[in-house]
Subunit: 211 residues, 4 copies
DNA sequence: GATGAATGAGAATTCATTCAT
DNA sequence: TATGAATGAATTCTCATTCAT
């Protein structure tokens, strides 16, 4: 094995811990996650996790924050550059979907946070959510005024978008475990995630466009 | 105080245990739930739970099964009686929404199950899900052939419907805890749940109707 | 084994835990004490200790408080009844010595608290100490005014009394472990504790009496 | 900054480690002391402590030994030079007090050792204690035979002396933390340590002198 | 039917110590 | 000489579950 510098080893260790934590949190949630298991998957001693400054809570918070700030950052920038509400809505959906595609552990974690009432969600992430809701509300306001959108409750649309993306992603993961699925259903589930974003986008736009 | 028969006391105890369990599982999930807490809320001794309902797993399974079989039973019956795909889709959405309305703990539990890959979902409930997916698939097939539906992936529509209902319900619960929400957003969240079903239905129908 | 009622068993368990805790805290101090060891000596499962409401801190605090309030109670009462400062001083010393005789774990615990700056001393016990110092100060004031006492710093006298009692008690415990003690020294150490109180009293009175 | 030789740096490092260790051991005892904390206060890396002084036990032993051998050496020498038992007793007390004055961490450490039954006391230090007890025993024997001392148990006198010095020193440290002390008591505690030795000496001599 | 007492098997976290550079 | 990285072995505390009455 090629020798690596101390710095590289450190960085690698941290990265492995983070990867493992994402996996485990996604699989079994915050409460269900075991530090032992994270350490094992990261290939480090359990104490290493604490040495690197993280107890369970901060490990979790770090992961959430990373994803949220990245996603929100992209959305703020790209939606800001969008021409017209329809384009902006496309961008909005596209970016949410991209996050799920890049970080497959996100749906599990987010669904659990929604389930628990955001118990373990760091407060900074809560602010990110508020901003996200603000953005889609603006898109709809603009759409109703200038663009061709019907009047609709943007939060319901938002939950349908996010719900569609998150739940479909989970359905894809869960389906192999579910026995008795007919072939046809399996094929429908096998849709790839870019495709999902496109289909969701299409459905949403049809739903909100003025005739 | 009027004396109650043994039978009545027994039934009452079981009912209280079930109510408490639903609450706790919804609040903190399966892993996070504590038998101690359930016992406390039910006003019974911890040992009583084992004496009655069995262990944590079966307590959970019982709750899930109750809701699933009830919901699926309704849907099978009423969708079967529906006239045409549009009517059937309305009934489908309406019944899902009704379950959430009657059993406010359902969204939390379901989202967690989706998150965890149905780890704790009893196998009988898995069959129920398969049947549910079968039903919506049929509605869309019929809609594409005879009715006025466009070709669409019914699973994506299903996840948008369910996602919309479940996530919006959670958003309503979580929102008081989230600081910094603008008034306008709070108003939009305050929509009542029947209304939500109607709005979801309307959006979905617009999305899937052929022009 | 004779069957005992639930209440008796409970009381017995609590008593055994308390005894064991006193032993262990005395032997190795608060920091050194292991819950495992306490449980083992008490003949109960480790979890029992927590079931009975005590974590390490409260277990310790309970023990301290018991001894302090008992001792101070006796001293306040009996010193109050004493005739003249000399009698009161005898009573003061006698009662401190009695506590050590009845509760052999006290010297270890108190010396450690003095060493650590009362880190683990419950605040109520701190108040007890303040009162104790108040009492001896009054005895000396009265002694200087009315009785036949010389002017002396009562706190120094107090520390010599308490130091003598506590350290001598410890010397008796430690001496068997110390190799190389000459016979004569061993004999001197073998003095019993009532005797110690008497000798301390005699020395102190000689030291403070006006010629 | 002037460059220092390797030797100087090494010596300085060792000195800093020793100072820090004394502080920490005094504050929280052997069990409570953390190598991390010692390293931090010494301004060195944790591994340095092992590289230099060995492990926790030997670090502790080194500190104890230093103080003990120094104190005993002084006492042996100066008591040997003393004229008559009264003078020797003065010297004995004076030297014990001097050690406490020079090494403020000693009372805490010694009280803890007494508390724990000398668990962590290196065997060489145990021999020092035996010699110390021998010396005071001899002073009293001489005093009873030739000088003007009454018959008294020298070990009890020793514990009163040592107890007075150690406990009063601790009382001074602890008192700022204790709320509710009356002004008068605070003033009495504020006595400086040389003064304490003088007062203890005076009290002891009055107590043991033949009338 | 109901419950207080009790426990085995973990769970997170800490810490003295060693390793590799 | 000096140190950051890493870990094995505890340690406190928790919790689902069983037992005895």
């Amino acid at each position: 094995m090629a020798k690596r510098s101390l710095k590289e080893r450190k960085a690698d260790t941290i990265r492995r811990i983070n990867e493992a934590a994402k996996e485990v949190f996604a699989e079994v949630g915050f409460e269900g996650a075991r530090i032992d298991e994270i350490a094992k998957r990261a290939g480090v001693n359990k104490a290493m996790i604490y040495y690197r400054g993280g107890d369970k809570v901060s490990l979790y918070a770090g992961i959430i924050h990373e994803v949220f700030s990245e996603t929100l950052g992209r959305i703020v920038k790209e939606v800001g550059e969008g021409k017209g509400p329809e384009d902006k809505l496309r961008t909005y959906i596209h970016n949410l979907s991209m996050t799920v595609e890049k970080h497959p552990y996100v749906p599990s974690i987010m669904l659990r946070e929604l389930a628990s009432g955001a118990t373990n969600l760091p407060s900074i992430a809560q602010k990110d959510i508020v901003r996200l809701l603000g953005i889609i509300t603006e898109i709809f306001e603009e759409g109703a005024k200038r663009g061709g959108f019907r009047r609709a409750n943007p939060l319901i649309v938002h939950t349908m978008i996010v719900g569609g993306i998150l739940l479909f992603s989970r359905l894809q993961s869960v389906s192999p475990k579910i026995g008795g699925l007919p072939k046809r259903t399996k094929e429908l589930i096998g849709t790839d995630s870019k495709d999902v974003a496109d289909r969701v986008t299409e459905l949403v736009l049809r739903a909100v466009r003025r005739d």
